[in-house]
Symmetry: C2
């Protein structure tokens, strides 16, 4: 293993995962390395030859990044469970192994989400008291953002899972979003506790009995107004909602472009409006928020968007650093321990 | 009963339901009556005194609308099951009774959705072969729109419910959206049939065996690109998605306003962009699409958005007319009958 142990923190980067890999991933790593010279070491995991060639061709040789060979790649469309068993030398599985062995303290991957989740679980296991890990997604809302979980790690959940998501989300909101006594909402279809489906009605009862700052059911409007700091839902609904949100932003964007093209005066107006549009774009752009942590794992794993730009990768690396430095896992363990009856 | 039987079609309107009732509802009814003079009769159901006073004060006396007294009102926050049992003289229950008795051929209500669904079921019952009715929502997408169901009538569904929603949605897409061999998609979190939760995996199998034009799982992006004509999901997910979609449109709108206010030149630009923004607004505005039919009921029921404007109410009335004239229920019955093994 060519990775040095001890010393300052190291973050492994899955160089082969995501729609723009490896080029977009390496570019992001270089940006992060320049931005935070010396604060942490970066380990690129993937096909050494491909990575070295790109680094040399672009004069990135001095950035001090290590490379760990991983000859296999798990494709986005592969079945996670099968892929992590068959491709033990894939970049994802290798990166997780590095963390398990203590050679790195965090992993960032924009690859196959299911494979990242499954291989995190297999390598590092769950935090004590947590039955299922959850993907924590930053939603850009009024008042500094909201964390939604689960963003897609578990498609079928029980009420206890949702309660644990709420614990983990509260710690995230305190530690990363810096909210005091974070307000927790349960995503449902009506404000009254009787509204929702069987899962949410049962989870509502559990959440109500907990010592968290549970404010009850919330709907889309409450989420974007930033009424809560943590939104709890199962991974199926969470993932559907995220993809809808992302799609409608793109759709509105394309509708505006088309309408502008149809109205000559609007084309002039659009030039003047550019700074305003850029402001909106900055608020809504997931690349600003740097990936989504997989909470509940006995380690630090940040999942990047499949379409991650270099900037998104850089921000995901910074998120991994923050996550490790602020000791979220320790805080989750304490919170879960305190909540035991 | 002061409502005449026979002759041309009559549509009952819940004058007391919705955030802007009764004024916004009556205004919408007057617009519809003027727009379609003589094509159908309108029956306003609600507090006669309040309705008559508003009609007289505004010189709407000549619009030929009938009034049926319904002294009680079901509030938006009331529990549907209890409310329809206790308030038998509410505007919702009375309107449904009129349809059951044949005095009207359709009902439009922007009131308590759960109460509208429950009271439709109680008065008129389900179509043969349909276990649960579903709310069919028009989503503004590329290619003439897509229908999503269930929009919120059933928070817990089984795979057979979803199959039946697909049948009903297909008929709606053929009959109202005028699509040939409508493409049906199952809302899920990945394209492969193995992706999703237990419900969608089982529903995928049933849909695959049906004679519908089933294209498989779809996500948000596919929906807004108009890749399918019918999107099938359970009422919990459907309702969450609709509210998120509506909320993010409002949120983006408010972000643009704020950014414009911060950039003086953008304020100039916004004036020039007005026609383009109006075009986008027209595309996305639910008021254009005139309410959501409750499919699977042995009658015609159109559910309006709680915040319905007079224009939304007018369009909901026109949707009710189209729905009744085009005989959707007969077509659903034929489709379900054909699909029996």
């Amino acid at each position: 293993m060519p990775v040095g142990l001890g010393g300052s923190m190291k973050i492994a980067l899955d160089a082969m995962g995501g729609d723009r890999a490896p080029v977009g991933i390496i570019d992001g790593a270089v940006e992060a390395a320049r931005h935070c010279a010396g604060r942490f070491g970066l380990v690129l995991v993937g096909k050494r030859e491909v990575i070295e060639r790109y680094i040399n061709e672009n004069g990135f040789g001095g950035s001090g990044m290590e490379i760990v060979e991983a000859p296999e790649t798990i494709e986005m469309s592969e079945s996670p469970a099968t892929a992590i068993r068959r491709k033990r030398n894939s970049s994802i599985v290798t990166a997780m192994r590095l963390q398990k062995e203590g050679a790195v303290q965090a992993v960032v991957s924009a690859g196959n989400t299911g494979a990242v989740v499954a291989s995190s679980l297999l390598s590092m296991g769950r935090l004590r008291g947590i039955n299922r890990p959850a993907i924590a997604i930053h939603i850009p809302t009024r008042g500094g953002g909201t964390v939604l979980l689960d963003g897609g790690a578990n498609s079928d959940c029980d009420p206890m899972n949702l309660l644990q998501f709420a614990f983990m989300g509260s710690v995230y909101a305190e530690t990363i979003l810096e909210k005091r006594e974070p307000k927790v909402g349960l995503l449902s279809i009506g404000e009254e506790s009787s509204k929702g489906n069987e899962l949410t009605r049962n989870a509502h009862e559990l959440l109500g009995k907990s010592d968290m700052n549970f404010v009850g059911n919330v709907e889309g409007r409450d989420v974007f107004l930033g009424i809560v700091d943590v939104v709890v839902t199962d991974g199926f609904v969470g993932n559907v909602v995220l993809k809808f949100t992302e799609s409608i932003i793109q759709y509105i964007n394309s509708l505006i472009r088309e309408e502008v093209a149809r109205h000559p005066l609007a084309r002039v107006g659009a030039v003047f409006m550019k700074p305003a549009f850029n402001g909106v774009k900055r608020t809504l752009d997931y690349a600003e928020y740097g990936g989504a942590p997989l909470l509940g794992i006995n380690g630090v794993v940040i999942i990047g968007h499949g379409g991650s730009s270099p900037r998104a990768i850089k921000n995901a690396i910074l998120a991994a650093e923050k996550f490790a430095v602020r000791g979220i896992n320790e805080k989750i363990k304490v919170k879960v321990e305190e909540s035991r009856p």
